[in-house]
Symmetry: C7
Subunit: 289 residues, 7 copies
């Protein structure tokens, strides 16, 4: 270490300080701009994708967009401001020859000691930033986040809040979400398994079922949520005393439960009316969900 003395060499020292400050301000401006441009670009791409999928609920997505921008902006501005300020102060101290070793060494030790414990915190924030930029889900979407499923109530940088079907509120750390299943984009599929006696003629059963499918699709109550006429896929499996016929239908998002119940009810009535026997007494697993 050099002999301790606050050296003040005119005009080098003030000049170096000046350069440092100018670089700091310019660097901060450039960083903020780069972040803003990157975020805008990613958000635009996400919006473009939504539009491509024919989801043109423009007002909804505009509101979400500005909310996302606000969430992102405040965090990144804080981080950049703090980093630039710390660096500028430390550099000026170095120019003035004040010993930095204790500060830097302590920061190093503390950084390592904290780094291990804080890694899940950092991961939570990084995951949150990317999920918000990529617009994987928004408030009101019905999602499956692995830890819990339900309707999104809040999309934060560290935690996501959702409410499940039972009314329970879930706080999930973003870094724990390894995959997101969004049920509110596009369509859902209803699957109905109809059990009949294995001695019935499969061709005739399929005819009856297909008739009801057409009837349901013609019903104005259901034609709104059905994106296409339900299809009888055919004989799914045969067991002693039971044959299972599968029907599938593409519905509006999250309407498949209602559709499944309605079609199941109608088909069973129709089979009874047509005199087709139900399965002999053996338990059946519940329909595929």
């Amino acid at each position: 270490m050099t002999p301790l003395a606050i050296e003040w060499i005119w005009p080098d020292t003030p000049l170096a300080i000046l350069i440092t400050l100018v670089v700091a301000i310019a660097g901060r401006w450039l960083l903020l701009r780069a972040v803003k441009r990157g975020t805008d670009l990613a958000v635009d791409r996400a919006n473009q994708r939504r539009t491509d999928q024919g989801q043109d609920d423009a007002a909804l997505y505009a509101a979400r967009h500005s909310a996302r921008a606000a969430t992102m902006g405040s965090l990144l501005r804080s981080v950049i401001n703090a980093a630039v300020a710390v660096l500028a102060v430390l550099t000026v101290m170095a120019i003035l020859n004040i010993p930095l070793t204790p500060i830097l060494a302590s920061a190093g030790v503390g950084g390592v000691a904290l780094g291990f414990g804080a890694q899940s915190l950092v991961r939570d924030y990084l995951s949150g930033i990317f999920m918000i930029v990529e617009d994987q889900y928004g408030v009101g979407d019905l999602v499956d986040l692995g830890e819990a499923s339900g309707t999104i109530e809040d999309v934060g940088l560290r935690v996501t809040r959702l409410r499940d079907a039972g009314g329970q509120v879930w706080y999930i750390r973003n870094g724990e979400i390894v995959r997101v299943g969004n049920k509110s984009q596009g369509w859902s599929t209803a699957t109905i398994d109809i059990p009949v006696d294995s001695s019935e003629n499969s061709t005739r059963v399929i005819e009856v079922l297909t008739g009801i499918c057409a009837e349901v699709y013609a019903d104005p109550e259901w034609s709104q949520v059905l994106l296409e006429q339900p299809t009888v896929a055919g004989v799914q499996s045969v067991e002693a005393g039971r044959m299972t016929i599968r029907i599938t239908a593409r519905t509006a998002p999250n309407q498949h439960w209602r559709v499944q119940r309605a079609i199941l009810d109608r088909e069973l009535q129709a089979l009874k009316d047509a005199g087709i026997k139900g399965p002999r007494m053996l338990p059946t697993p519940p329909p595929a969900q």
Copy 2:
């Protein structure tokens, strides 16, 4: 290393020490203020959210707020005081040219060696700080923390204490809580599955069930905990000898168990009175919980 000598260069050395102390005191003041402001902001946002959800039990949340503020304050003040003091002492020693290498190197080795083992400790505290600031749950809430479910008795920075339905007290490290399910915010859903013989007419069964639902909702005993009239969702599944009809009801938080038992009892009585046969003898899984 420079020749060892405690150099005392007038007036540079005392001046440097003075500057160091001033910076330390100012830095400590700024840090404490930044932490306080950040915490207040986060707490205000959490309170705002509660108010938005129509939970305006102001006195309860004011009490919780001050408890949280006290818990947070003591920890952060201790940490900041210790950090600033250590840095100031080390810097003054560096200015006086006392060799710091042994201290810093030992701290480095110790920091790394401890850092690995202490990471879960740091994670516990960081998780605790964020959960308290975000107000994910408070004393008295019924929560599901993954490791255990029950009523919160104490929200600490390192561990959360709760008591489950069986009376057992659980101490859970905050860092082990990857998701929080809070059952005391908003509402709960009761789900009742009614089994009847598969030969019964589903329309008629649903009529009977719907009548009882209206009756229950009109009953003053239940109308308080029922947020809306129970709904008969329709035929949930059909098996050999058994048809299951599902009823759902939105209730006050954590009242769904009582409601499920009451509705199940009444509906079964009503079906018996209406002469509708129960399922033929096959075991049924318990109602969805």
Copy 3:
């Protein structure tokens, strides 16, 4: 590296050594005092909590308190003494200009190499320290530590020793304990599921059961362990041929097994006497535990 020579500059070198020793002794005294004060504070808070819960078995907790203080004190004193001694020796060597690089570098390499393997050891000790300070459990408590359940025999800094119901002694590393379930604080809940034939009138069954509940609560043998009269919760589930009625009772800690067996026996006798049929022949799962 400077030319090697043990430099002895009068009076700087002895002065620096003196300052170092004074600082070391003062630092050690301060650290010991801070640790003692912190531990006392935490222990006081834990005791206060116990008192708040109405657990005023003062003698028992005083004994536990002093045992905990002794366990903690010996470890922390050893660690602080060793750390201060090592630092003082190294600093004096640095002042005497003896080369420290080999020692520090070796310590660094060894520290990293050991740090990875020793992290679970450090975690065990840190967990032990906090569990002792927070008084999560003491000798004689019945606990569930995840790896094993039983009665605590010894609370150590690295391992906890307990004995399970089968007589097996378990040694559990404190760092592996992610949550502690303490069954010896407050109360336990007994849950009894009574199966009857599904054709029985539920109202009548509940009347009979409630009568016996009152009888049991009046019985002096059971009124000591029952904290309140057992409650008939209502119809828990209905299946083909079987209806299940649930009874719950709050008991003294860990008395619920005895209570469950006694109430089950009495209720079944009472139902037989009242002529209420048991379930038709279908297996029932064992009562909730």
Copy 4:
């Protein structure tokens, strides 16, 4: 540290700066070219493989190729530009003798602290880059990624987006994908298990089944999706009252579900016509999927 002074030694300093800039520009050019060449090579190998497998849908793969190249190019160019710029600026600052210690030390501390949390982010990107270069799947492929299965909608550098059979959209981080199962390359296998009474003669049953297999393969509707005539593998298992015969068929990719249903239906009809009894009443597991 040397006495602080911005030293400007003519002509060494400008010369050094000049050399630095030239090296930076040359290095950037070389890196970009190396990356491009490496990527092209890997992509060519992947295309070659596709061609070797007889998948000569040239237009489709050309479109995919350019999409992949665009995705890769933008990221790598950004990374290389940023890295070269930072290095050049820092080197010039070092040549001008501006103190770099604070910047480098802060970057080191920050790098370590972030490194722990960001490792899953880096892993996601690295996985994405390799999966794109190796062309493991493309938009429209039906894949099993472990976390979810469905049709690929977007192949990103950090996340892959796919839509499952139920209409749910899945966002999966590339680093979480440990193995990829691509169902759209080559062929699929249909497996049909035919249950008959265990007292039937297996040779005769196999004769009947083989006849229908030939019939199906001759049917123009199915001969397109069947890559070869379905094979009767023989008696798969025998249980009390039931013998199972297995049929396998190689089909066009993802057509095996349709083929299974059709063959199952026809074979059962043929067995009924041939008077071969079905299994006595025992539940059968569903056919292998």
Copy 5:
């Protein structure tokens, strides 16, 4: 780096070397003594505990003690000798001004690279040292180590060797043992579940069972292994057609299997003789183990 020259400054260099060697020898002696004292202390505490539990098989534990001391001593002496030797050689080289940078840097790189891979090795040894010092188990004990259960054949510093009931020899790395269940300390519990017809009178059945319990306890063959008279706990569960009565007995360590079989056999004979019907035909789970 200073100009290279092996500097030999009389008398400083030999003096420094002399001091180094004296310190090394003294340090080694102190470390060996500290380790020995610490180990002795821990072992004494473990022995004290055994004595407190009334396990006064002094000869057995003395033999174990010396075996443990030998195992520990050889390892720790080797480690301390190697560490002190390396440090002394390096310090002398530094005093002689031979460049240490390559050695230390290589050791650093190698230490980090090895450290990651060797961490489980270090963990195995550390776990072994602590388990031996704490005397968690010894040769001949019947233990449950998670990975395998059986009789200990060898307690090593890295691996423990045991033989299970089937004769298989297991080598288990000490670091993989998160909890130890030692079945050879104190006592075991036998649990016998007696099934009878659910129509039997529970009071009478319990009387019969209690009679046999007293009889068994009076039998000299069993009174040696029974630490107390077996207890009839009461009605454990009731199902359609079956009532289960539980009997528990505290036995000498690992004698509970024999006791369970003997009591089960006698109780069933007694129930037959008393004309109490067994359960109607429903499968029962095997007795609790």
Copy 6:
């Protein structure tokens, strides 16, 4: 840092550069040769092993050998070239006194930050290199890699590609493969469980079964794939109404499925012909696979 100046001291500087370049070229040559020799040695050992196992399909393994050598060579040459070039350039820069601190520090920070995320990448490559050198499997082998089972289509340095029985193509990262099960080396075992009525005489049943085993082994169709005559192992288990006899046979690799079906079919016919009753009606688990 020394005063900045590109020092050019004749003739030391050019001499040092020359030495550096010579060492670089020599080092590269030595490394390449060492790698080549090591790889050849390992491959030779693997080939030797194959030959020892009597797998002398020389042409096949020669082709595999050259493919493996090509895969390995290109990677290792690239890595060694890049490493030597970087080191040479940096050393020349150091000789010319250009400041390296920024480059090295940035590389350090980047290396750590990337190292965490890239560790699975490095692991994949290292695993791939070793699996190729050890020749654990080759194109065309039927393997079980844990994540998926099937026929190897490509053995890469980072991923292995295989196709399962259902036609699905799997890409598996080499680092995720913890154990390899190769089914194409040596032989397979067929296991057939024959169920008969528990009242049958086991000796007679075994006689009948053994006769058919001899018959099958004499059949030219099967004698090619059977490496020895199938063995009747004896009574495997006895249950109420059913006795199971096990037959085992050693077959050519992956021919055991065909053999199992054929033997099962023949044995059942023979038992019917011999008038031995099948099991009474109870489900049987499928034969061991």
Copy 7:
């Protein structure tokens, strides 16, 4: 950094180089000898243990010993040679004042970056070395390594190769083996569960069974593999309609399967002859394995 110049100070520089080389050669010799001595010692201890267990197949273990020594020797010699050579070259370069910073820094960055990915590789080798030295298993032993069970075909430093009962060859990385179960040392235990009707007299059944046990033990065919007469343990469990009696027998290693089948067959014949009824029709779990 000092002014660059290859300094050649006579006679210091050649002297330092000479000392370096002498130390390198001596160090290498000492290391090789220490490793050899340590390995021999460990191997001797393992052999001693085998002898103590009465496994005196001296020729077999001598062959294994030399194979192990060869495997270990080649690896350790290579590692020590490489390490000593690198250190010597670097030290000589340092003495000649050639700048080492680039090489060391690059090695550091590379070491860290590789260290993360290579840790499983290092772990594999370390585990292999210890397992070989401790002689946990050898070629021909029947072992359970967790990932797979079978007969060892090759014990390598990185992978172990074994072949399972089905003929499949398994390559298992040594570091993934957390516990080794060796079935070829000492003895195995056969366990046979005999089901009889629950109304049978247990004393009489046990008499019959014991008679057959004595008969089997007297049979010369079985007395070779039976290490002691099979023991009838007593009534293992009682269920509705079935009582299970357990027989255990200690056999030569891996002969217990054959013994179990033989005893089961004979006992069932004897029970039939004695007129003891089998269990009423309820499925039984397979015998304990």
